[in-house]
């Protein structure tokens, strides 16, 4: 009797199966994203209207004769205050979107009632979270591109820096921004209603990371806190890459810090995910909401 080859069972998924599962999650999330045109319209409008309040306040603070602006230029070393505000607020928006979308990816599945059944399928569970992040990252890249074009065309912002360095900064920021999102997703699925956590996290970024002002203006204790937040380095590096002509020298230290933070947040995000997964199996609470 010839020996029959035993097909790899669904209970023993391989790397290829994991990739297929991730691809299925990516495709599903993308389909949901393009199903709602209002989300796409928002992507064009929010980058323009969100920083407006800060930009006009900065314009008022500059004064009729530009005396305030001269002080601001001394403090920041940059002449482009609209671009300065725009870069800071766009990075804040990026982190805010990740907290809501990646942070709530599993929670949304829980609310739809599909999380428990997905959890029982023989796929690597992290692929649900990772898969949800990919379309989100693509939409953020589109948002950043649209925002850059809108600022250049509507506000006349001159991006003196390098597009490639700006892209490099984004790439270096991805692990820390999304690692935080992964960590958040695990907290949210455990705490259920976790809006207050999002408000707290995005509030910390808004207050400490220099979204609209140079860090040197803050008291020392706030600067010490800011030094422990990766978004501080993302904002500083992106301003340097996009608005100044400092080139590589202007972002090298920030990139190093971002890679360190990225390693930490990815590890923390994955560890929290494993903890949440184990806890969910023990308590059986994964389907509750």
């Amino acid at each position: 009797m010839s020996q029959l080859s035993v097909p790899s069972s669904l209970g023993r998924p391989g790397a290829l199966g994991g990739l297929r599962a991730t691809w299925a999650v990516i495709r599903r999330e993308w389909t949901i994203f393009i199903r709602y045109p209002s989300w796409i319209i928002s992507m064009f409008i929010w980058p323009i209207i969100f920083p407006l309040g800060y930009i006009f306040t900065a314009r008022a603070l500059s004064g009729v004769d530009g005396s305030g602006l001269a002080t601001f230029q001394q403090n920041t070393g940059l002449t482009e205050y609209v671009g300065y505000m725009a870069v800071g607020t766009m990075i804040w928006m990026w982190q805010n979107i990740v907290l809501w979308q990646v942070g709530y990816a599993l929670r949304n599945e829980q609310m739809r009632g599909t999380l428990e059944s997905n959890w029982l399928s023989p796929t690597a569970r992290f692929s649900y979270l990772f898969g949800a992040s990919v379309p989100q990252l693509i939409s953020v890249l589109m948002l950043m591109t649209v925002a850059g074009l809108e600022y250049a065309l509507l506000f006349g912002v001159k991006f003196h820096g390098s597009l490639w360095l700006a892209a490099l900064v984004m790439l270096a920021a991805v692990p820390s921004v999304y690692g935080l999102g992964f960590a958040f997703a695990s907290v949210v699925i455990t705490a259920k209603e976790a809006n207050a956590f999002v408000f707290l996290a995005r509030g910390i970024v808004m207050v400490f990371c220099g979204v609209t002002y140079p860090l040197a203006i803050q008291p020392q204790w706030m600067q010490d806190v800011a030094a422990w937040l990766p978004q501080t380095y993302v904002i500083h590096a992106m301003r340097s890459a996009a608005l100044s002509t400092d080139g590589w020298a202007g972002i090298a230290r920030d990139l190093g810090m971002l890679l360190l933070f990225g390693l930490f947040w990815l590890a923390a995000g994955y560890a929290l995910f494993l903890w949440m997964e184990r806890r969910a199996r023990v308590t059986g609470a994964i389907g509750q909401y």
Binding site: A60, L61, G63, S67, G68, L69, F72, G203, I217
Partner: protein
């Protein structure tokens, strides 16, 4: 004996209905006291970056540039007043529409609509708790913001109420129209978020509107709220006004009547449309 039926409501029954609505909203709000804490501290998160930004533009600690547009170097009092007034504006402007949306989501909208109560009264009822809660949380916010950033009103508080009254009454008109739009569209969150943000920005909640680029200035001048904010600030912290103060008061009173009339007419027309479509219970 002629018994009075429920379909023949009186003023007393209207007041009882209003009281019931206010009590219901009040109980619901304080069931989640963290909401009040959030309402006090959340604005501080948006204000903090402006505070530091102001310092970055200041010469020897004074916002001289800001004074050229507004007439005061005390930019934090300017912004804090704007934030408090925006809280009240939001409570009336969007609060009624949001309350209707909540009724729709919790499935009580249709049954409430069948009661013999004037529908505008239902909307007004929904705004009362909002206004009282906004007053409490705004006082708390001002207290903490004053401690952190400093708040220095120098004018007469009672005189500052004069422009607030026509502005708030006029806002009810807009609130009625907006509530009707929410009934028609059912899910208007994206619309609300964007339009409230734009109205807030262009009415000058954080900056004097004469600092706007010339092509955007007409947008600000077309909003009655701009004059309300301007007049209150002038009376409380002595800023220079866009127009002479009496003119601004006249404009606010005219806007009050126009907005009330337009809002009520829009509400009646759209509400009839929703009843014809039969979509009142859908969400």
């Amino acid at each position: 004996m002629h018994a009075q039926t429920l379909s023949q409501p009186t003023l007393a029954s209207h007041l009882r209905a209003l009281f019931a609505l206010v009590r219901k909203d009040w109980k619901q709000y304080w069931r989640y006291p963290l909401n009040a804490v959030s309402a006090m501290f959340h604005p501080l998160i948006w204000i903090a970056p402006i505070y530091f930004m102001g310092l970055a533009f200041s010469i020897n600690g004074k916002a001289e540039g800001f004074a050229q547009f507004s007439g005061t170097t005390d930019f934090m009092s300017f912004i804090l007043l704007g934030t408090v007034l925006e809280n009240f504006i939001n409570a009336v402007f969007w609060g009624m529409g949001y309350a209707l949306k909540n009724d729709m989501d919790s499935g009580v909208m249709e049954s409430n609509w069948l009661t013999p109560i004037p529908r505008l009264l239902i909307l007004v009822g929904h705004s009362v708790t909002n206004l009282v809660v906004t007053m409490i949380t705004s006082i708390g916010m001002l207290f903490f913001a004053g401690l952190i950033f400093g708040f220095h009103p120098t004018g007469n508080l009672w005189a500052a109420f004069a422009p607030v009254v026509p502005m708030m009454i006029g806002l009810y008109g807009f609130g009625f129209a907006f509530a009707a739009v929410v009934m028609l569209l059912r899910d208007a969150n994206a619309l609300v978020d964007m339009s409230s943000f734009l109205v807030q920005t262009f009415s000058g909640s954080t900056f004097p509107v004469n600092a706007l680029p010339r092509f955007l200035l007409p947008v600000a001048l077309a909003l009655p709220l701009t004059y309300g904010l301007d007049a209150v600030r002038s009376r409380l912290i002595g800023t220079t006004t866009i127009l002479p103060l009496p003119w601004e008061m006249v404009l606010l009173v005219v806007f009050m009547f126009v907005m009330l009339w337009v809002g009520m007419a829009a509400f009646r027309s759209l509400e009839r449309r929703v009843r014809v479509l039969g979509t009142l219970g859908q969400h």
